[in-house]
Amino acid sequence: MWPSPAEEELLDTISFDEWLIEPSTFIVKVQNNAMQDAGIFQDDIVIFRRGQKPKSGDIVIADVEGQWMMRYYQIEDSRPVLYPANGNYEAVRPEELAVIGVIRSVIRKY
């Protein structure tokens, strides 16, 4: 038996699980179209990384005074602003903000 030349290539694959499920990732079901222009729609499943510090431009899940939202996170004048990706929603400039995690992937199963 000759070794298959494909064998060594195979060693460098990862499973979908490893690709999607990083340590500390959670899922949440999307319940509105506030991020539709970012390609995230109602009933999509979003995978986010809990406890990750957000950078400007990340999509985050955040707690704004007891209201939960998924929005773009931006730092403007060293203050956080949450931007929607949908003209029907308004930007939020929260006094208090707790980011619970940063979005890593979106899954839509047809």
Binding site: I27, R50, I61, W68, M69, M70, I100
Partner: protein, 422 residues
Amino acid sequence: MLAHIDGDSFFASIEQSVKPHLKGKPVVTGKERNIVAAASIEAKKLGITRGVTLWDAKKMCPELVVLPTDYETVSLFSKRMYDIIRRYTPVVEEYSVDEAFADLSGLRRYHHASYEQIAAKIQNDIHAELGITVTLGIAPTKTLCKIATDKGKPAGLVSIHRSRIDDALVDVAIENVWNIGPATAALLRKFGMRTALQFKQRPEEHIQKLLTKPGMQTWQELNGMQTIGFEEEKTSYKSIGKSKTFTPPSNNKEFIFAQLMKNIENACMKARRYHQGAKSITIYLRTKEFRGHGMEGTVERVTAYPNELVDAVRTMFEHIWKPGYYRATGVFLANLQPLNPMQPTLFENPATLVKYTKLYGAIDELREHYGKHSVHLAASLPAQSFQHVSARGDMPIRRATTLKGETKRKRLPIPMLQVKLR
């Protein structure tokens, strides 16, 4: 140095983690059993503890949030907690669903950190990534670690240094020492040892006269000698027990027998997974009034095949059955031995044995694909289709939510945040 990691109000904290709107509120789990199985820190402050009936708990706190136990999410969190600890040391013992021991010895240089700093990192990672708090105890032995954790509850980090053991033990009552049961505690108190320190300071010969080996080990552990080692992942069991409670209690004989057989199927399944079989089997029935009847029998040959046990179990069942209402059945497979190679008994047709081996090989494969109990004995049928009578909302949210492609039995192994997104 060893560490003991203990999840604070584990089941209730997990609920608060996946349902962040419950943070800061008194929450208990155990709705399906009508007693408090776990209470959040806020509920504990109101005097609500494990084992209190829900009725009493509601009286103590009318706004109490009562939830069914979500075993699925709890086991995901449990596994992640162990995984986080394994980032820091490969020697981790999964002591229970919400507790672990870890050996940190020799890892200070590798992590460029003191033992306390390593422990604090574990604690922070768990908090940041899982949204729950754990208490950490660091000490030279497991028994001392447990004492350190008790002192640190909740969310603390307590370290007992070898030179400060006495200070740590002076206010610890003897019955609160790990592995000291009520009988041993009573005996030690009789001999004037009320605290862990008094016990620790007795001369070895004196303790040797009083206690057997496990008690002696505890004495050595309190004296800083590590005598209780780390348990590797289990590869075999000495006995396997399975029991199940059903609500409401039933007086239907065939249904109760079916429950018993289902337990046997479950126990055999577990035994086969570890390539073990039983030589002895115990069955028991628990009445509505919590009285138990039991009986033990032996089988001719080591087995893990329910078909071979059904006749013996039927005979034992008929023996102990009395008409009445029952709430639970259980089985114990004991005297476990390796299942392979199997030897037929003298008067047995070896082909039967081969047949069962093949049959259950196939059943176990089907189970892998289609879920537990996809193939079962006719005798357990009445138990298979049975659903617990339960009030609305008794099912954990995660269980009641089926994502596209998931089934009731097969689900994505990832925790789901339960929030209303605006």
